[in-house]
């Protein structure tokens, strides 16, 4: 699961559960989406 949200508190809360969480201060942009996918892929390889 990848969690996207623009609220830093939500990012902290959900991230603390072990879910990859991506802050989206400018909304659902291509940049944050690709960052989320890249980070998720990297996390899966660990």
């Amino acid at each position: 699961m990848i969690f996207f949200d623009d609220d830093p508190q939500n990012i902290r809360d959900v991230g603390s559960l072990g879910v990859l969480s991506v802050l989206t201060p400018q909304g659902g942009t291509r940049e944050v989406w690709e960052k989320g996918l890249a980070d998720y892929g990297a996390a899966q390889k660990k």
Binding site: M1, I2, F3, F4, D5, D6, D7, Q9, N10, D13, V14, S16, L17, G18, V19, T24, Q26, G27, G28, T29, R30, W33
Partner: protein, 156 residues
């Protein structure tokens, strides 16, 4: 449901969808469109066979529901068809967020982390809305409730 932030012109549902531009107009003539890369991103999720979960605080959950049924992804798939119906919680927005469950609590309770590959939250811009100052959550609306409601419809 960030697209709702465009609809503060005094209009609201019912919406008229324009398939040529993938936009919706409310009763005041205000145009609402999907923001950022949402049409492409949701399309990718749908093409993987994935699902999107939603936990959103909004002043108008029924508008969000209607618009999810109208907007389409970049390949023409309706947004609502990419959503996991068991992982939707849209609460009426209030100023004090202390009365509402945050996304972490909701998804933990639904065991969502094992099921949904993507979760897209919503802006908190409404939290300062003077319209709702001093109020608190009146109800919580879940997707199954939407589907059972006589008002629920899927526009064609």
């Amino acid at each position: 449901m960030s697209f709702l932030l465009q609809l503060w012109g005094g209009g609201g549902a019912p919406f008229v969808y324009d398939p040529a531009t993938n936009t919706c107009k409310d009763t005041a003539g205000t145009t609402c469109r999907l923001l950022g890369a949402i049409p492409d991103v949701w399309d990718e999720v749908g093409q993987w066979g994935g699902k999107v979960a939603i936990a959103s605080r909004t002043d108008e959950p029924s508008w969000a529901r209607d618009l999810l049924c109208l907007f389409v992804t970049s390949s023409g798939q309706r947004l609502i068809d990419v959503v996991d119906p068991n992982l939707v919680e849209m609460c009426v927005q209030v100023v004090s967020l202390l009365y509402q469950r945050r996304p972490g609590a909701f998804f933990r309770s639904q065991n969502a982390f094992a099921r949904a590959p993507v979760f897209i939250g919503s802006p908190r811009a409404h939290s300062s809305s003077s319209l709702f100052k001093g109020t608190r959550a009146a109800k919580r609306i879940t997707f199954p409730t939407f589907k059972r409601s006589p008002a629920f419809h899927i526009p064609t």
